[in-house]
Symmetry: D2
């Protein structure tokens, strides 16, 4: 029996869909994100709840929403010092459009810049996972203290830096203390953050190094169940507004195409 | 009298600073954004308040904070259909890092994609400014209705599209209605949004075209006092979380380096 | 009669091919670019012939190949002074991969940077086209001299810069003279370049401003028949090798994540 | 004795130059690349000689220049199939500017795409270096054959792919044969390429897999003394012209903002 064209078309399409997604379903006049019509989300959930919904697939408990909001706020800006901000502003000065400049700023995160959050999350999550696999959950703070000691000793021995500790501009980064306090307030202070605090105690005693913003947020986000692979993503969500503000400032306050480098800033080698 | 080296250094530096900024002041152990120490902002202001503070230089009234939050939520995602999302996922499939893929997604906003918000804000702000310059503030809705009629007639005559109206996937975009309702709730429904609504009424009658998300947000953001040049920036803040979610989905659910194009998807011309 | 599945599939595909191209046909074990099997091009044509073939669809006469080669060589590098090179190197310093850094350098070309070639090509091509449309081809150098005079007068009157003339680092850019000489040698000196030379003569007399590299190449590429929309593209082909060299130098000679901005490079405003 | 301001300024500058480079020295009216005034290079050296000069710091012998030219030509284009080309064209369709689209194409090279050249160069260079360190230079082809056998056995054992062999669209890539032949003609066929050929012989016999363009160029570029870290850079130099051609084709032949994805291309999962 002959089959109709439409039947065949549908069969072919079902058999070989080019794209699949669980994030948002788009139909004429309907946009459903993670199961919720967007018109029901607008005005009803906060931006941090939206971020959580998109990344984890569900609307968070209130404490988690408040904590994520604080994490995002903490990443807001570090002035002119980050290379990513310099890149965004140099691009702005050439007259590149706003989106291109933000894009350039984000592309500037290399392994030495903005990678510490993921590095620290990865370390803490791996340490806890290995610990739990071999010992069951930590039954006391002493377990975490031993784990911290072992970790610090190993890194010192190998001359390796521990990501999330030390800052090239601050001896005492003013943000992690407030973050840890906020985590306690919102019941998001768990074993990962506790471990990070013990590591800080040891590093402070031995080398005079303190936890930085990445170390604090690495612990907190891990305790909230975020996979370390989202670290740079979450950092970017927090940092994009400042990039936009810097780009606008460069475009409106400074002379277009100003010279960032003068002849006598350059030294020639052979 | 001889002058000391330090004095000269300082003089030279003051005379010729390479960078200047009013956004964030960074000193050892102190990070002050728009006048506020960051440790006082973390845990105390919402993310949308932070966005407002960075862009406009002050913490907003509660209604404005809630409205901006709703605007950001409304831009969250449109599934696989936007070219920017396709670009971000294709890049994710090649194994490019998260930040590169987000960067690629944002770079994909060209004049035909994601420009309608700025276009619509620019139009509404220009219309109102010209109106106010020649007539003083609109004294009644009738003034705005006339302005809307004049605008629509002119555009129809020239065969020009009005940015912020019509959608290539939806006859009736489900988001603008909720946004306008929310604007009324938070006292952010002003002359720009009212003008947009009158334009919609006319376009709906004449051409069966409705306001889209960009038209609604253009009116609202204009009524909140945002310069149109921030349009794409605000859109990007709202959209980045979805890009991150799509990139993660592509990296974890799909086969790496999958074929987005098959031999028989291609037709050769001379 | 029933139709077979394969027939239907083929019909559907032919009816709705997603992509079409005339550049390169790819079949199993065959890659045909602009009609030539690639294995016949490798070892037989020069890189500039390949560029010409890709862009214009045919292999050029020898003179055009040599001239294009000279144009590409002339765009090679301008040291540390271009913002695009600074961006590429700052990104290299963060540890971003080579391709990301080149990408960032190219994204840095905004309307004030690297746009002069297209601007100059566009101007010269428009001037000649308008002239030819109204007068037929220029019958003598006097015609071109008048056109140059008219152009310069109009720009001076409006206070507009003429793209392709003047340089922010050089009074007398050393490259255009050699380019014009080379164009004469390879029989690529036509009306566009002649017009550019007349404009230079006038600007030099009136304002002490000379032709720069973009003005010379704009004339020459226009005389070779390149549409002005390829200007930035051709410039990028010439510049990419230097970006790669700078990125490698940054990565191998400098300390990773070096500070491009020190505390006292920054001045805070309110 | 008092020191003059100028003296101090110069001392300070010499003591702390912000940038240093050996590539191009720029002074008013003089641009010296790798020791050569650019006006002496224009019209006198080929583009591949310029690439070599920028990367390796000297003008190559004629054979090397011809060989590098052939390598660059071989990377020209692979039609619509590479994700980087799809990204560049999707971005072109949104109306993004030419340089942004090229930038997006290049940013799309992730670890699964366009990394095989560097991977293959790295492998061949490491194999030869280890061999030479322990055995002195290979004294006969038999030495290289043993090294190839050892390498293939190890990879097969670990189930690892050898970069530079096998192609997802071609059983027999038409380019490597011509490249190897050209390398012999220009005296650039050395131990690295010979080793690659032996590896191919073994893989063909055991698994029916042949050398691809990256394997051939990896051997040849290694024999020409290019550090493997330049692999992706050299590939990009060769590929940029095609990206420009594709972007122009998309912008001029296709409808702006065409739909690359239709509703029924998408399948929704939970």
């Amino acid at each position: 029996m002959a089959i109709g064209r439409e039947t065949v078309e549908n069969l072919l399409k079902l058999a070989k869909p080019r794209w699949k997604t669980s994030i948002t379903k788009v139909e004429p006049n309907r946009i459903i994100t993670r199961g919720y019509p967007q018109e029901d989300l607008i005005g009803n959930i906060s931006f941090s709840e939206m971020v959580y919904l998109l990344i984890k697939g569900e609307i968070p408990h209130e404490n988690h929403a408040k904590m994520l909001e604080s994490v995002l706020v903490s990443f807001c800006d570090h002035g002119i010092t980050p290379p990513s901000t310099q890149v965004a502003r140099i691009m702005a000065s050439t007259g590149a459009p706003m989106n291109t400049c933000v894009s350039g700023g984000l592309a500037s995160f290399g392994k030495h810049h903005a990678g510490a959050l993921e590095g620290s999350m990865c370390l803490l999550q791996k340490l806890m996972k290995d610990y739990v696999d071999s010992n069951g959950s930590p039954s006391s703070s002493n377990d975490l203290k031993s784990l911290a000691l072992h970790t610090v000793e190993q890194c010192l021995e190998k001359g390796k830096k521990i990501p999330g500790f030390g800052h090239r501009f601050h001896d005492k980064d003013p943000r992690p203390g407030k973050l840890v306090k906020t985590a306690k307030k919102y019941d998001c202070f768990g074993v990962h953050t506790e471990l990070a605090v013990y590591i800080e105690n040891l590093l402070l005693e031995i080398k005079g190094i303190r936890m930085n913003i990445d170390g604090a947020n690495a612990g907190i986000l891990s305790d909230m169940g975020f996979d370390w692979r989202f670290g740079t993503g979450i950092f970017m969500i927090g940092r994009v507004p400042a990039l936009i503000s810097h780009i606008h400032e460069e475009k409106t306050v400074e002379t277009p195409f100003r010279k960032f480098v003068e002849f006598d800033d350059i030294y020639y080698t052979d």
